[in-house]
Every structure is written in C-alpha cells, then in structure tokens.
C-alpha cells in the first residue's frame, strides 16, 4: 500500500507538489499517475478544440461527455474497490443487464419509479451477495466466481426479457432523462455519478472500511493476523460492486428509456481498463477513485472526439488501443524514472 510513496518522491518532474503532498501519506488526492492522466485529458481537449472548436468546446458537449461517462463511471467506482481489495469482478456488465431488464418488466413497471429503482438496486445487491458469498466463504477464486455470475446473469436477463427490448412507459422515469429535469443545467444522472464518486472517495479514504480494503488487498494474511475480518470484508466489497451495478442499471434505464439484455456489454473490460490506467494495481492494495474517474473520462472523451470528427469504428479501435498503451507507458516512465 505504500508502494507509491518512494516512487512519488523519486519522480523529479514535479518536486514541490509531490513532496508537499507526500506528507499527506497515500491519501493525497493527486499522484503522478493522475497528473499524467490529466495530461492525456488536456491533450484530448486540445485536439478537440483544434479539430472541432464549435462542437467540442460547447457546454452542451461537456454535458454529453459527462452523461456518457456516468453509467460506466458508477460501475468503475465499484470495480475499483474490488480491485483494490485484491479481487476482480467480471460480472458487472451482466449484472447491469439483469438489473435493467428486471426493473423494466411490465410487472415491475406497474410499481412506478420507486418500484423500478428498488428492483434495480436489489438485483444488483443480490448478485453482489452471491458473488461475495462464493468468493469469501466458498471460497472460490474471484475470476471464476464472477465469470460464472457473468454467464448466469446474462442468461437470466435473456430469459426474463425473452430477447425483447423492454421500453419504459413510466413517465416519471423517462422525464429524468429529459432537459426539464436538469438541475442548474446538470442532468440528474450526472449528479448521481458525482455523488457516487464523492461517497466512494470518502469511504475509501476516510473510513475504516476503506483502510481495511487497502489492507486486505495489499496483504490478506497480514490483515487477518492484524485482526481484520478478511472474509467479511471481501463479502462487503462484492456487495458494494453489486450495488454500484444496480445504481448504474437504473441510470441506464433513464438514459435509454428501456431495458435490454444486451445492456452493459463489455462493461467489465471498460471498467477494469479505466481503473488500471487510473493507477489501480491489478494485484490489489493500491488505487484511487479519482484515478478511475479520470480513466473513465479519458475513454469517454476519446469516443466523443472521434464521433465528432466522423472517424469510423476501425480507426477508433486502433487509436483507443494506442492511447491505452501510451497512457500506461507515460505513467510507468514517470513513476519509475
């Protein structure tokens, strides 16, 4: 967990800030990884401003980028916790699909907004609970347990929806995605995203739960000897990830006005990629919410930038891969030199 402390000191490019912040231990809000991500983000903004000044720099577009980042962003916050705690969650996309489908069945829609929201959250929590129990008390390897959940949840989503796109008829839900519902120009789902980020940051950095997460991910055996209930901690982490998926599913319902079993396609990869380029160690014990959020924003901005410039899928994919490699190499170079 202290692995980044010496490297931070060693990185000369930003000495004053790094030194000053280092005294704040690992809880400092910025480290070099995030600075380099901010650099990537700024570079993207410059490219956007040069190529499509009118469209890219519009306030409307900022709102669009944030809206598109919201759903995957909330999922990524949950995944970040799991990875810091030494686990992995491959089932997030499938859980989002299942929750969004279950919450949009005709029967659930009868209960209106509250019923749909509750259903979405409960399905997320339920899947998280199954994941957590299997992994903590099975015990099963997280990779396998969540892979099994991925398959079953997608299957169940397909069975419930019967392959149909379930269009939402509840106006109270639909209205949350339309301009009239914006608070000070900010769409409600972006506000939820912001709230999840703030709460996630507080929980990770200001609570015992957060410290235990880092400890368990850094060294589970040492944590156990130190008196931390490692199993319970693991269970809670997957519950948390499931809850985030439930929230994200409801946001997706608002955004698309429907539930479909293809929802959340490849979210697991997007979320893990965002967390990793945000500086979270895949082996656990280290990571930040801010880094993950920046990771999500980088990906969303790239997608936005490419669409505005009318670049096609092939080029988008090639460039996306290149940018991931570049971002990670830059981080590596700066944190080890």
């Amino acid at each position: 967990m202290n692995a980044d402390a010496p490297t931070t000191v060693a990185s000369t490019p930003t000495p004053p800030q790094a030194k000053k912040e280092h005294t704040g231990s690992r809880r400092m809000p910025f480290d070099v990884r995030q600075l380099s991500l901010v650099g990537v983000l700024l570079a993207l903004v410059v490219v956007g401003a040069l190529t499509k000044p009118d469209e890219f720099l519009a306030g409307e577009n900022l709102r669009l980028i944030l809206t598109q980042a919201s759903v995957i962003g909330v999922v990524t916050v949950g995944v970040t916790f799991v990875i810091i705690g030494g686990g992995i969650d491959l089932s997030v996309g499938a859980i989002v699909a299942l929750a969004s489908v279950w919450a949009t069945t005709v029967a659930t829609q009868d209960f209106g907004l509250t019923g749909m929201l509750l259903c979405s959250l409960l399905v997320g929590l339920g899947c998280g609970l199954v994941n957590g129990l299997l992994i903590a008390y099975g015990p099963m390897v997280p990779f396998i347990a969540t892979l099994a959940m991925l398959a079953s949840a997608r299957g169940l989503a397909l069975q419930i929806s019967d392959g149909n796109t379930q269009v939402v008829q509840v106006d109270a839900v639909l209205d949350l995605g339309i301009k009239d519902s914006y608070v000070l120009g900010i769409p409600p789902i972006v506000l939820v995203f912001a709230l999840v980020c703030v709460v996630g940051w507080l929980v990770l950095n200001r609570t015992t739960f957060g410290r235990r997460t880092v400890a368990v991910g850094g060294n589970a055996e040492a944590s156990r000897l130190a008196g931390i209930a490692v199993k319970r901690q693991r269970l809670l982490l997957y519950l948390l990830s499931g809850l985030c998926c439930g929230i994200a599913a409801f946001m997706l319902i608002i955004l698309t006005g429907s539930g479909q079993n293809t929802n959340g396609n490849l979210y697991e990869l997007d979320a893990i990629a965002a967390a990793i380029i945000g500086g979270t160690l895949l082996s656990g014990g280290r990571g930040t919410i801010l880094g993950s959020v920046l990771g999500v924003l980088v990906f969303t901005t790239i997608t936005n930038l490419f669409a505005l410039n009318n670049l096609q899928t092939d080029i988008q994919q090639i460039a996306k891969g290149a940018i991931i490699v570049a971002a990670v190499l830059v981080q590596k170079g700066r944190s080890t030199s």
Partner: protein, 352 residues
C-alpha cells in the same frame, strides 16, 4: 409441433399462396412484386405445388442462433408458428446458439435424427458451411436462411434478405423526400461495423444517394445493434451536426436508443428512417408525431417462408405461383419501405 392439438384453420388455408402471409416479402428472384395477400385468388401452375392441405408428413430440423434481440426473436417465433400451422409438419428446433462449434453439433444431431429437411440460420454462414455440406451429402436438403453458406453445394435453397437493397431503398426514399432541397445533409447511424451486412447496407445507401447531387452524407457512426450503443452514438452525431435533413438508422432495435438521444437533445428538424421493421417503429410511423417517418424492411417472415420451402422440399413439390416443378435455388426478399401510407398493411409483421 405435432403435440399441438390445434387444427389448422380452414379459413386461412384457402389462401394457399405459399408466401401468402409474408405480406411484404415479395419475391425479387421471381420478379413477383405482390405486396398484398392474394386472398381468395387461386394461382396454380401445372406442376404439383405445395398448398395448405395436409400432405406427406415432413420432419423439419431447425437450427438458429440465440434469439437475443428483437429480429432474431421474431425469426424463431415465425418459424415455430408457421410449422404449427401445418398438420403434416413436425418441427425439431434446437436451442439457439451463437457459438459456431455448438451450432455445428446441433446440425449434426439433427442429421443423425434423420430429419427430412433442414432449415439453418447460421450464427456465421462461412463457419457453418461444413455442417451444411454434411447434411446435403447425407441426402438431407438444406434450406439456408439469410446468412449464406460459402458454397452453393451446402444448400438446396437459400432464402434471405437483401442488405444492399435495404440501403438502396433507404437512400432512394430519403433522396425522393429531399430532392428539391438545396445542400441537403444526411446522417447515417450504422450497425456493427465488422459485419459484412453493415457494409453492404452502407454501400447501397451511398449508391442510392449518388443519384441526388444535392444531397451530401455528412456523417456516419456505427453502433452495435443495441439500445445502449444507439443512444451513445446518436447523441454524439447530434452534437457533431447542428442541423441536418435526414437520418437513416440501420436497425430499429438500436433505434430505441437513437430516438431517446434525439428526444434528449430536443431535436426535430430532420426525418428519420429506420431499418428492419419493428412494431414499435411502425406504430410511431402511423402516429406520425415524431421524427420517425419510415422504416425499411428486413422481414423476419423469411423464417416462415423457409418452413414453407422446407415443407415443399420434403413433399417433393414446387411452389404455387411459379411454373417450375422445383422450388428455386435462391430467394432474395425485397426490402419494402414502410411509410404512413402503407403502414397498416405491414403492422402485422412488425416484430416486438
């Protein structure tokens, strides 16, 4: 299925046109462009043709991909319902699968069961070619549905949609709507870009627009046939293009998301043309209170027609309305444009 006790409806059996209920599915291959049910009109060539009267018992094996979205779902339903209609048809349907290896296994199981005719909608046509060949060599005629095998030896009859024609008709419709407008701008929301069918649709669309020099396609983005991707890509397109005149969306399922994005952006200065022909979009066309003005069909009724063809093959008959003694080797369906004018006709075949 034979376990269904329902007796075929005598009233509809008079409508013995093989493609009778497949209203929009006119036969391009035969030049027959009838768009309506030829109720009561008896057409018969001298040859022995299949009709709705019970004949020789036929067991049809059906293997399709996993029905995980609207159109594929409709395919399975169409096939099953059509088979139920015939007293003399037993349908052996396998669980749908998107995995090539699994589907090969399923086709082989059906061969071993010695079904009389096979109807195969491959998850991937090229990958399933060997399975088709094996069935043909075993003496089981194969009706290849939509996604075509790589060799004609692997099927007795191919029936499917026309992706290029779909793009062509979408382009023509939009072209006609905008032909008097100077510097008209068109936007395209495509489907999954690494599928050949998406590229064919785009090519047809582009070729049609070439006939209208006043129209320029200003932007194109590819979504993934899902609602979520439709919303995402459409909102970016709307941001990129402050104003345009027409939009063609390849797929009505992803259109749910695209229409949501349009609503969220509060835009309505253009006309939107859909693709595939879902019930939801047809209802929107009928209501005429949104940007959705038309949709280009990719009729799932082709599965029902495939069952008809398989039955005719099993009974050794030709099809009515044609002079030939045999059913054709290839049947390409027509992608009709559904507008407010003709929507009532097509509503019954719109899929959910």
């Amino acid at each position: 299925m034979t376990d269904n006790p329902r007796v075929p409806r005598a009233a509809t059996s008079r409508r013995n046109m093989l493609f009778g209920t497949a209203a929009g599915a006119a036969l391009l291959a035969t030049g027959c462009t009838s768009n309506e049910n030829n109720d009561g009109k008896e057409e018969s060539a001298g040859a022995q043709v299949a009709d709705s009267k019970p004949g020789k018992k036929v067991t049809i094996g059906f293997a399709g991909p996993q029905a995980d979205h609207g159109w594929l779902n409709a395919i399975t339903t169409q096939a099953k319902n059509r088979a139920k209609k015939y007293e003399d048809v037993t349908l052996e349907a396998t669980e749908g699968s998107n995995d090539n290896a699994t589907q090969v296994g399923q086709v082989e199981t059906l061969i071993n069961k010695k079904v009389d005719v096979l109807v195969v909608l491959p998850a991937d046509g090229k990958a399933l070619t060997q399975a088709g060949l094996k069935a043909m060599r075993a003496g089981i005629p194969v009706v290849n549905l939509d996604r075509i095998f790589s060799t004609q030896q692997a099927y007795r009859c191919w029936i499917g949609g026309d992706n290029y024609g779909m793009g062509l008709n979408a382009g023509r419709y939009i072209g006609e709507q905008l032909k008097d407008k100077k510097n008209a701008k068109v936007v395209e929301l495509a489907g999954i870009d690494n599928l050949e069918l998406t590229r064919q649709r785009t090519k047809g669309f582009d070729d049609a627009l070439k006939n209208y020099p006043n129209i320029e396609k200003v932007a194109r983005q590819a979504a993934e046939f899902t609602v979520e991707s439709g919303q995402k890509k459409m909102s970016a397109l709307l941001q990129a293009q402050k104003s345009f005149d027409a939009l063609w969306n390849h797929d009505d399922d992803q259109g749910v998301g695209a229409e949501r994005a349009i609503k969220q952006a509060g835009r309505d200065e253009f006309i939107m043309v859909g693709g595939a022909g879902s019930k939801r979009v047809m209802e929107a066309i009928k209501k005429d209170d949104s940007v959705v003005k038309a949709t280009v069909l990719y009729p799932p009724t082709m599965a029902a027609s495939a069952i008809d063809l398989a039955r005719a093959l099993g009974q050794g008959k030709g099809i009515s309305g044609m002079a030939e003694y045999e059913i054709p080797a290839q049947v390409t369906l027509y992608s009709a444009v559904v507008t407010k004018k003709n929507v009532d006709e097509y509503l019954p075949i719109g899929f959910t």
